[in-house]
Symmetry: C2
Subunit: 312 residues, 2 copies
């Protein structure tokens, strides 16, 4: 198993990535091989300074960096020697099994969508977010922005992919799948939700519990919450803002602290054939450690294979 890491992505690159790798290695006896992509001299210096054990580490030099605000498609095309472009090249050609970056989100998405194949049968990949639940548990909301306009069949696939992810990665047995909607009863909602409900109801691969409403997002009514990316993105960003509000109000509350999404590491692009994990720009060492661990989990538990089975 080889996991590739873009060392140049994120606000604190490459320092926090190096520190995250160190954290990860100190917690794992038999670590996978790590491919560190970025400025070789900088990386080597930091590895030495932080006394990172390098038995399982290889560096792949990348002389360019895609900045956070560059146009994703253009940057990927023009900066073939950037860490992100090289990362996708290595992933697509089988030189590594997963790719992690806290860099330009758009470029990561474009790379995932256009250089890595979708899982057979997937109409469109999706991105999800973890949602902290009031009872202490964790839910999954998807799509959160990759697909602003969706067809019912897409939402049906999000439900399957989300359920597989919730089960294998979040450890939720037989996850309850809910359709984000404006009312509980079947028949409620906009045209998309109305047309999606029967698909989910008849879907044997998921444990569909019906419609859920805005008030259910933070409760444990559903583990996997399905919607198009417009609504999902607005929910995600509203949820993220709760952490700031809690800070602003000096709440000092453990539940609201869980809305600090920086802690969660990154979110995988679901529906592509290999793990691609996108981190917050502001990712720190702990986030990088968590992303490497997530990549390892996704490979070990063969999340993609399970998704393919459930989707067919």
């Amino acid at each position: 198993m080889t996991i590739g890491i873009d060392m140049m992505g994120g606000d604190f690159a490459p320092l926090e990535a190096v520190k995250g790798i160190n954290l990860y290695l100190s917690n794992h006896n038999i670590p996978p091989a790590l491919l560190l992509i970025g400025d070789k001299i900088q990386i080597e210096q930091l590895l030495t300074t932080h006394k990172v054990p390098t038995e399982n580490i290889k560096i792949v030099h990348a002389e360019q960096v895609i900045d956070m605000h560059e146009h994703p498609t253009r940057a990927l095309k023009e900066k073939q020697k950037s860490s992100i472009a090289i990362g996708f090249h290595l992933l697509a050609s089988g030189k590594m099994d997963a790719f992690i970056s806290a860099g330009n989100t758009g470029a990561m998405l474009v790379g995932a969508l256009f250089s890595i194949k979708a899982i057979e049968g997937v109409i469109r990949p999706t991105i999800s977010t973890i949602i902290p639940k009031m009872n202490g548990g964790t839910g999954l909301l998807l799509d959160v922005g990759l697909n602003a306009d969706c067809k019912p069949e897409q939402l049906n696939q999000f439900a399957i992919m989300g359920a597989v992810y919730a089960q294998l990665i979040l450890g939720i047995d037989n996850p309850k799948v809910g359709l984000m909607n404006v009312g509980e009863e079947e028949g409620k909602g906009n045209l998309l939700a109305q047309a999606t409900y029967p698909l989910l109801k008849e879907n044997k691969h998921i444990n569909f519990i019906g419609n859920i409403e805005g008030r259910d997002v933070l409760t444990d009514k559903a583990d996997v919450m399905v919607c198009e990316g417009f609504t999902g993105n607005i929910i995600l960003k509203l949820a993220e803002s709760l952490y700031e509000i809690a800070q602003h109000q000096a709440l000092n509350n453990q539940y609201f602290d869980r809305f600090n999404f920086e802690n969660y590491g990154g979110t995988p692009v679901l529906g592509v054939a290999k793990p691609v994990i996108i981190g917050h720009g502001i990712s720190g060492a702990k986030a990088f450690m968590n992303m490497i661990y997530l990549a390892q989990q996704m490979i070990e538990k063969d999340v993609m294979k399970k998704m393919k089975e459930e989707l067919s």
Copy 2:
């Protein structure tokens, strides 16, 4: 000026309505005439028990009640002698100038849409909610559920109606109008948001500030936040749940207390030619008082006339 009140609507009817009227009358020297619609004997007894001054009060007997869970269209059709049906009849025929109910929301909406004319030029009326802002201010979000699927022209009208309401009723001078979206830049969003942006941008009747995101809902970036009713309803119910969470977490925080929407009275149906105000089922005396005051304000400030002017 005559304001009609459905005395039989809401979980605590008619007691809380009577107490609310009493509160209202004790705060207003020259009150409008109030038309109390419901069970005459019950109402008279309560007015006496609570020593409500009755100079400005008339009772209109209604021998039926539409329950909270009845099918709106069917109930309105079959229960012609219900307080809601009589209320709309009186409003439509000009016997009163506004109608308030905390009863069956669906029946109130059906009544407003089908027995009261829309303001000239309005494609579809809308309902809004107040959003407590972190800085202490108050925003307006619309639509919050009446129109799950919308066209760009409808969102453009919501923007105008919301801006008029924010200015005249919420007292916000030159309210900033934002389009709920998934990113800041023009061109972001789903097809609806993309098509709506240029309409809002060219709309001379509003102070359009561009796209806003989920993280801006609770900040003061925009005063009037425009979206279709699917997204808006989910935002509203998620916001409502914050109060419960604050209770559950025993936060005892003034800002989160403001998410107790029961305090706000009710929400008007915007875009119909006369004020129709729909309260929470759980409305208490204070909510009823606020609803009567809102109806009075909407009449005195001629909100409907201003909307008509701005829409044309």
